[in-house]
């Protein structure tokens, strides 16, 4: 057992270094491309840093990072329970639409009731969107990755359909929903924004995201529920042998994961968008969540900081045009970071096999662990 613990600590310790190294290498590759294109690396990265370090810039970063933190949490939670929740995109969209419907149709209610109602509605709808997939998996053994990808598209078109319903659709020319009632908005007051010099969309959604991070961590690491979910993630058969109801655990894990993504949709809508446009392409918050979960080592707190980092890249990256660098640079950096993280996982496996020459069963478990992360 000593040996085993040792290896896990190695993984836990090296992973953060690996992540940081991957990020560094991502920027190096980005710089390489800037050089090829004959652009000033210093100017581009300088702009990236300067646009996120001012008070206003950082408040933008925080606002931008809220949806990424939530989808990151959602995916991280699913990774820990042995499911690859690629469906957080759809859960996010559905949650956001649920909050929009509540925020538009029940706009007369006071904030104290309306806001929690929007959150609740979004979480329930997001959870349902996850549970359906879990049900298909349990009942007919349909691979959850496939059905989730399809459910992303169902959510996409359903959202467009709902946005077209006269009671929801904008009164003006915009191809979007009406704006949600001001009572449902999580924006900080205008005076406070002006006093602190924040961005116009500054909102307190980040506090909810932080709270959810703590709750997700508590569930995973401090409760029997989390223990059960993780056990199913490590080894389904062993968990079943140990008396855990596997089907129910999968449903629970997907419901929690979906609720987190759905709440992310609500936070994004109520803090920043205040309406949902008729999509012409997927907005990609859920897919970004996979990147965030990877960068955050599938740890809720990791996902929180990775979400802020990702938000900073997205917000700072959008300014790159102003110094003549293409915004696609961010995609290059993020893609490279993910590649290197994947590579680092392989290295850890090699290391593990290297250290443990014979115990096969333990090796299998470690490979599983690698998968989950």
């Amino acid at each position: 057992m000593d040996k085993k613990k040792n290896v896990f600590t190695i993984i836990a310790e090296t992973r953060i270094i690996h992540i940081l190294l991957s990020i560094l290498l991502g920027f190096a590759v980005g710089a390489f491309f800037l050089l090829i294109m004959g652009l000033d690396v210093g100017a581009a990265y300088g702009r990236l840093i300067s646009s996120v370090t001012s008070v206003k810039g950082f408040s933008y970063v925080v606002v931008y990072s809220i949806p990424y933190i939530m989808t990151g949490l959602s995916v991280a939670f699913s990774f820990r329970t042995g499911i690859f929740n690629i469906g957080s995109e759809g859960q996010f969209v559905m949650g956001s639409m649920a909050a929009a419907c509540i925020g538009i149709l029940l706009g007369q209610l006071p904030s104290a009731i309306l806001i929690p109602l929007c959150f609740l509605g979004a979480m329930v709808v997001g959870a349902v969107w996850g549970i359906i997939v879990g049900f298909l998996k349990n009942k007919w053994g349909i691979n959850e990755v496939l059905s989730m990808i399809m459910f992303n598209w169902i959510a996409f078109y359903l959202s467009n359909f709902i946005a077209g319903i006269p009671a929801i659709h904008s009164d003006g020319t915009a191809e979007a929903t009406k704006n949600i009632s001001e009572n449902a908005s999580t924006l900080l007051s205008k005076e406070l924004i002006a006093d602190l010099g924040l961005c116009p969309t500054a909102n307190w959604g980040i506090l909810v995201a932080l709270l959810m991070t703590i709750i997700a961590w508590l569930i995973i690491d401090k409760t029997t529920l989390g223990y059960r979910l993780k056990a199913v993630g490590f080894n389904k058969t062993a968990a079943e042998y140990g008396g855990i109801n596997v089907s129910r655990s999968i449903l629970t894990a997907l419901a929690i994961s979906g609720a987190l993504a759905g709440l992310g949709g609500a936070l994004q809508l109520m803090g920043m968008g205040s309406r949902i446009s008729v999509f012409s392409s997927q907005e990609g918050y859920g897919f970004a969540g996979i990147v965030v979960a990877l960068m955050g080592c599938s740890n809720p707190f990791g996902a929180f900081f990775a979400g802020i980092f990702y938000g900073a890249l997205i917000y700072g990256g959008s300014k790159l045009n102003l110094v003549g660098a293409p915004t696609q640079l961010i995609n290059v950096i993020v893609g490279t970071v993910v590649l290197f993280i994947a590579i680092s996982v392989i290295f850890q496996r090699l290391k593990y096999v290297h250290i443990n020459k014979k115990p096969k069963a333990a090796a299998v478990q470690s490979v599983k662990e690698g998968d989950d992360k």
Binding site: L25, V29, F32, F33, I36, M37, G38, L39, D40, A43, K56, Y60, N160, G164, G172, T173, A174, E175, A176, N179, C199, P200, T201, Q268, M272, G273, R275, I276, S277, V278, S280, S281, E283, G284, I314, Y315, S318, K319, N321, L322, V323, G324, A325, P326, T327, Q328, V332, G335, T336, L339, F340, I343, F347
Partner: protein, 355 residues
């Protein structure tokens, strides 16, 4: 040691992969990026205050959408770099509009051009909050503020001209029309087109379809193929990205397609008859120059045939000479005010998508 070697190898592979994967977009971006890079240092040496700074905010289509955003950006790039400093910010989601507009405001740009009616609400909000900042919005006329210029196009006139062409060249007397979304401004395309077709060929049958999406290439393609099986031999689209599917379907089946907004001949050189062009580039240049000369005027700026704001695309090689004569005659008649193209559904009962 082995590990380091392996890492290096992996790195090489990654670099090679990245290089293959993104060479195309990189090449595309290189040109504008270099332009901008070349401008930036020069601008720092000269007094920056002398340059007129124009910022453009795209809608979610992005700057390489082969349509509005791209044309408008190309127009801005063609401006004299001695006088203008131009830049764009791309919007990835609906929520980015406001952020991007605010970025340009914070950077102190002289004029912010918002491309597309999707930005109308964000533009109105920003214009109300910043009365000293000048804005221009393309394809929206709902903002009535002293600091906003609305650049509008007489799309029914351009559509009327391509309708004449379609009605003249059709042999099966069945023509198709694919629209991206039903709204008052989008309907103008259909009304103009149908009026033109019926004028050139009174007994023509016009198949109409609404994709209800500007980005659904597959949907556009399906709609076009359906029309082709029903006998259509010319199809006009006003459907943004979905129209790319229409054009490719026409290309596959070997019938004529008519493009919209920009000269879309490059999408299928053998089968794009012509395009109904909206000179978004001219409009963005005009308003930029107006700001530079200090005579910015708010309100609706209408671009139509008389000021060259809309027209047939320069690609007209496939159009028979006698048809072009008819088109030119109709154009002159409209410019002289002898003829007008209907703008309401009531005046064009054959247009059925609005129901």
């Amino acid at each position: 040691m082995k590990k380091i070697l392996a890492l290096l190898l992996a790195l090489c592979m990654v670099f090679a992969l990245c290089a293959c994967g993104s060479s195309e977009p990189a090449a595309e971006d290189a040109a504008p990026a270099e332009d901008a890079a070349a401008e930036a240092p020069a601008e720092e040496e000269a007094a920056p205050a002398e340059k007129v700074r124009i910022g453009m905010v795209t809608d979610v289509g992005g700057v390489n959408d082969q349509s509005f955003n791209q044309t408008s950006w190309e127009g801005l790039q063609a401006l004299d770099p001695e006088v203008f400093e131009v830049n764009y910010l791309e919007s990835k989601t609906d929520a980015d509009y406001q952020t991007n507009i605010n970025t340009f405001i914070d950077e102190g740009y002289d004029l912010i051009i918002c491309v597309g009616y999707m930005l109308a609400d964000a533009t109105r909000e920003a214009a109300e909050a910043n009365p000293d900042q000048l804005f221009a919005i393309i394809d929206d006329s709902t903002i009535d503020l002293p600091n906003v210029a609305c650049l509008m196009f007489a799309q029914e006139q351009a559509s009327y001209l391509v309708g004449l062409v379609a009605g003249s060249v059709t042999e099966s007397k069945v023509v198709g029309y694919v629209q991206g979304m039903v709204s008052d401004s989008m309907n103008l395309f259909g009304i103009g087109y149908i009026t033109g077709v019926l004028e050139a060929c009174p007994d023509a049958q016009i198949l109409q379809y609404n994709v209800n999406n500007f980005g659904d290439i597959a949907g556009g393609s399906t709609a076009a193929k359906d029309m082709i099986t029903k006998g259509a031999d010319v199809i006009y689209h006003a459907a943004g990205g979905s129209g790319i599917g229409v054009i490719s379907a026409c290309d596959e089946e070997g019938i004529w397609a008519i493009g919209v907004d920009t000269d879309q001949a490059s999408l299928a050189p053998d089968h794009v008859l012509t395009s109904a062009m909206k000179r978004v580039d001219v409009a963005s240049q005009d308003i930029s120059k107006a700001v530079a000369e200090g005579n910015f005027t708010a309100g609706v700026h209408m671009y139509d045939l008389s000021n060259g704001g809309v027209d047939l695309a320069p690609t007209r090689d496939h159009i028979p000479a006698e048809v072009l004569e008819v088109v030119e005659a109709a154009k002159t008649a409209i410019i002289n005010g002898e003829k007008s193209v209907p703008t309401s559904v009531a005046d064009c009962p054959q247009f059925t998508l609005a129901e």
